[in-house]
Symmetry: C2
């Protein structure tokens, strides 16, 4: 996970993608940056699923190495950093959209966020365009 | 991974999906069943990426628990089993398609399977329909 080398370098496009974000947390971090507008470590740590600080740090480093996320000094607070999706990261919008539509079909739990799925279903083009442009929600 | 309880039950559609297949191997197993027509444990073990037998067994069990895969006795060989995607598993076709298109854009390795990506790009509807219908490649 923490090296630049691919774990399984078969050339298959599914394997290539999973090497970049195929774990239980990376797409949740990308979601928080793409959809919820999280930009700092503290904001990412406060995601809904309770990621631990060591896993967050490890995954951010990996996503940086894979070119999906950039890290820079916060111009407004030089002791802090800002994390942003690269174009490569923002191009995962359509992947997020399909994943959300699939879950919308199969998650029957009473607390399932059906409103979020409905937003994607009713305006998928807009959802993807907002992520692609880096526009905050 | 091996329990039916969700790891993080936030209600978010991305989290719901990652709880079912968000690891380095599950989507490769699903790819082997959906695209390459693998149906037996032996065929799945011979995937391109060299999955180990204990990880394969663990992931198949998890995918069964999540309702994406069924396991039954092979009618032609009662000492063997056949694994098949359920409708819920086959409905991941569009997710696989978007992942492949993303990799097609960013995997610049000389051995990247560009032909596979091109097939999806040129006939995405057909690709998804074949997976959805359970038709073998």
């Amino acid at each position: 996970m923490t090296t630049k080398k691919q774990k399984y370098d078969s050339g298959c496009p599914v394997a290539f993608a999973l090497d970049a974000f195929g774990d239980q947390w990376s797409l949740l971090i990308i979601r928080d940056m793409a959809v919820r507008g999280a930009r700092t470590y503290g904001e990412l740590l406060k995601g809904w699923e309770g990621i631990s600080t060591n896993i967050l740090a490890q995954r951010l480093k990996h996503l940086e190495e894979k070119g999906l996320v950039t890290k820079r000094k916060d111009p407004e607070n030089w002791r802090s950093f800002v994390y942003e999706l690269t174009q490569k990261g923002r191009d995962l919008g359509p992947v997020l959209a399909e994943i959300m539509l699939w879950s919308g079909k199969y998650n029957t739990a009473p607390h399932a966020m059906t409103g979020t799925v409905e937003k994607v279903r009713s305006d998928r083009t807009g959802f993807e365009a907002r992520i692609r442009s880096g526009e905050l929600p």
